[in-house]
Subunit: 326 residues, 2 copies
């Protein structure tokens, strides 16, 4: 499973190992909404001109409004992963504070402490956390910020999976003089991960350094156009929040019928813990269903949401085979 | 003209100052091919999945083949401007060597020397140079590399506008142990600047640092798909080289009829020098034709290529008005 522990979405590697073409696979290895915002389906981008800086500024304002944040403290980045990489560079004097199992990019983006030497750190708090779906309240997050600020460090709150949840974001708490940075992802909730669009909310000196790093055209024309329309589509956003919860419940019931208890609060992915995770991954992969294992945690497997009833039925059939084998 | 000296393509600012909607303007302020590669016109991207790392590797190989470079030493970046910004970060211990009037990004991306203190530098050599179109031979470029290496510095050759020219690229000279880095742009020659696609060719340690900075998904799905198809379209590439030369000659003849001698070897842009550059910019802008002035060089004006005969006729009419006013 070693090819599949770094990130989800590695369908090419899955085809090379288990056969089939990418379109034959049911990819449950990511936390990407399988029912994307529909406005992108018929959109033919006009790639000819350079992206327009005025449109980029409008996108940052519309997105900040969705986040409940100050538009002056919101910078668009080409994907939240790229935003985290840039933050690692900007905050390179601060080593990463150790934390629980979470997104693998953090250790690649941020430096590590030399022999656990004391001193201020950057702590990344993922809310809800990936992969276990632990959701912290705003009060808990702000208490973590107080602890980081007391040490002269920084708190980065990665809210890549926060869109399905109301009242958890601390994006509105970002302000000048505070050592709080929030990252947001467009592609996960809107189901358009190939677009590469994310946002960093933080004090101006941080955003200035990010913008210097990403340059004068950080986004493609398509990311600006689609982001502008999608974040303003409050009807779809409300409906998606509801339908993600329904789909997550259906997945939980299916998993429970096979003795698997799904964990966490995120409807975009469900984590199961079983001693038979390796055989579960293998059985599903042979049925061309890709799930997400984790290095060093052989009893964990993360499931993305099946998008349609037919996908749920396909997963059910494969789980039944696995249960019978056990 | 201050809003228009940083970069070309600032149509929103032009509309705000001189009226009209972006589609009313003839934008001659950039060096982007006005007749783009046609494969993008009907392409509806599938944005749902994360970009595929295997497809990214194929794109780097196809592009390296177009550049005549070692595919192992070729990294895709989200636009050559973003690549230069990242190089500025990776090579931050080396100040930028002073040079002639050239692309404004260099001074934003690279550090400046403290009071001209001696020591190794990074020199950026733009070939052909923007905006004056000076073209250097491979021998001249490699001599500049020798000088940089003798001092322990680096040479970055920005070949953003090199595609129309055969036998000028030093991309094939990049190798392990040499202090040579080459940057390439997709959007200019292929006329698709909104896509944000470029390449950096350099020793592995440089590419590793760039990849760490840009993260695991440096490109959008569309940039990978279109880049893969366009760089393999050798028929179109050959035809575009010929037609760019024809269009540049037609523009030169038109400018000459109004007493303006176009300078340089690049068919993607033509530079004119006239004491009346300010009135020329203004007259054209009032006719909703945007050209490119340069801060501190009030006698220079750069013209991008008109894409069609009707655009050429529109420019001719405006130039006639300017000549009559003079």
């Amino acid at each position: 499973m070693s090819a599949f522990v770094a990130h989800g979405g590695r369908l090419s590697a899955a085809c090379a190992r288990y056969g089939g073409a990418p379109e034959d696979w049911l990819d449950l290895s990511t936390g990407i909404n399988p029912v994307p915002w529909p406005g992108a389906q018929t959109y033919v981008p006009d790639w000819r001109a350079l992206p327009d800086p005025a449109a980029l500024a409008r996108l940052e304002a519309v997105a900040a409004s969705h986040f409940g944040a100050d538009p002056a403290l919101c910078a668009a980045v080409p994907g939240s992963e790229a935003g985290l990489r840039a933050l690692g560079e900007v905050l390179r004097e601060f080593p990463l504070a150790p934390g629980p199992l979470t997104y693998s990019t953090y250790t690649k983006a941020f430096g590590s402490a030399d022999n656990g030497a004391p001193g201020p750190t950057v702590r990344v708090l993922t809310n809800p956390n990936n992969p276990d779906g632990t959701l912290q309240t705003r009060t808990e997050v702000l208490a973590a910020l107080d602890r980081q600020e007391a040490d002269g460090g920084w708190l980065v709150v990665d809210e890549a999976f926060a869109d399905p949840h109301r009242d958890v974001s601390v994006a509105g708490e970002v302000r000048e003089g505070r050592r709080l940075i929030v990252t947001r992802s467009f592609g996960k909730f809107f189901g358009l991960a190939g677009l590469r669009l994310g946002f960093v909310l933080g004090p101006l000196a941080i955003l200035d350094a990010l913008r210097r790093l990403h340059g004068d055209w950080p986004l493609s024309s398509a990311a600006i156009d689609l982001g502008l329309t999608a974040y303003a589509d409050t009807d779809w956003i409300g409906q998606a929040r509801q339908s993600l919860q329904r789909r997550a419940q259906a997945l939980d019931m299916l998993l429970a019928r096979h003795g698997l208890a799904a964990q966490g609060a995120s409807p975009l992915f469900r984590l199961v813990r079983t001693n038979r995770a390796a055989s579960l991954f293998e059985t599903l992969a042979r049925a061309h269903i890709l799930t997400r294992p984790f290095e060093g945690y052989p009893q964990l497997l993360r499931f993305g949401l099946p998008g349609h009833d037919s996908a749920l039925a396909r997963l059910e059939a494969a789980l039944t085979r696995w249960s019978c084998d056990g």
